[in-house]
Symmetry: C2
Subunit: 165 residues, 2 copies
DNA sequence: GTGGCTGCAAACACTTTGCATTTTT
DNA sequence: AAAAATGCAAAGTGTTTGCAGCCAC
């Protein structure tokens, strides 16, 4: 059996995230500073979900000081630029790559708190059909399935009889 | 043309919300106090989405003082009891009826901020198929479509030529 | 009467903001 | 040189909690 993948394969995109960000900032007459470059580089260096605090901590551990204020300000920009997507699974906002990453939705295990991504084209079809029926012009969607993942199910339920044969 | 309905028709249920809440509290050895009864009565008196602040304000305006602390504590209980469902559309939590109300999902207009409910059975089928494919035991889901509603589309876009004929 | 509830105020956790200083173009 | 970004600390939000007195069972 193949190992479970939590993340999908990245898309191939022409511009690097930093380039994309620069274009966005240029249009708004804003600047690509070294703090912003540092943040984007770090964020797009791995494909995990993260929150503001993790970002501050990780960068400090790597010897780069970035103030919380700048992190929050930059995260907002990155969302506006379409580079990041904001998730509100809990009280604190989590972020994930949007640019260079395929559209997808999430399974959230309430037991181990793991988030697994999945792709399903029917969802888009359904979204558009429902929107049309309500005269909505859809711009996005979130499909979040909550439940218990395979590993946690196995760990928490008594061993099945067949396992013992 | 029929007017757009934001809310679905309530289900017919045997117990009143207060009764259901009483049962839940009894099991846990907790008490149905007058503050709790007041809150449940008020909440299930209308079918709108609301947040903690609105609850405090509405009740104060109606001459009933309830402390913020009690509101928050009771909201949590009502969610655990399965009477309310928590939505995280923004930073503050919003709540809606769960008990005595059909399963449904939401369209969120980012222009006027209105939330429209809809029912669609395919979603459930899709949810279960996707969960099965990932070994997940699903307990719930959220399907949120964001976009611009019909009214806002009309208000913000130039009148179409055909409208003038 | 006892254990759970309430209100108050203080504490919390996360995020935003005002301002003096630094950096970018 | 002008305009914008940064860091700091302070101020906001939204929510939770400790505790003394109160109420339902």
């Amino acid at each position: 059996m193949e190992a479970q993948r939590d993340h999908l394969a990245p898309l191939v995109v022409s511009d690097s995230p930093v380039e994309k960000f620069r274009e966005f900032l240029e249009i708004r007459g804003e600047k690509l500073t070294d703090r912003r470059r540092l943040l984007v580089d770090h964020i797009f260096n791995s494909h995990k979900h993260f929150d503001a605090d993790e970002l501050v901590r990780d960068l400090h551990d790597a010897g780069h000081g970035v103030s919380r204020a700048t992190v929050y300000r930059t995260l907002r920009l990155l969302v506006e630029a379409g580079l990041l997507r904001e998730l509100r699974l809990t009280n604190r906002s989590a972020y994930e790559h949007d640019y260079g990453y395929p559209a997808h939705d999430h399974l959230h295990c309430t037991s181990c708190n793991r988030v697994v991504e999945f792709r399903n084209d029917e969802i888009l079809r359904l979204r558009d059909a429902i929107s049309a029926a309500h005269g909505f012009r859809p711009s996005g969607h979130r499909f979040l399935i909550t439940g218990v993942c395979a590993a946690c199910s196995r760990a928490h339920s008594p061993r099945r009889r067949l396992d013992l044969i």
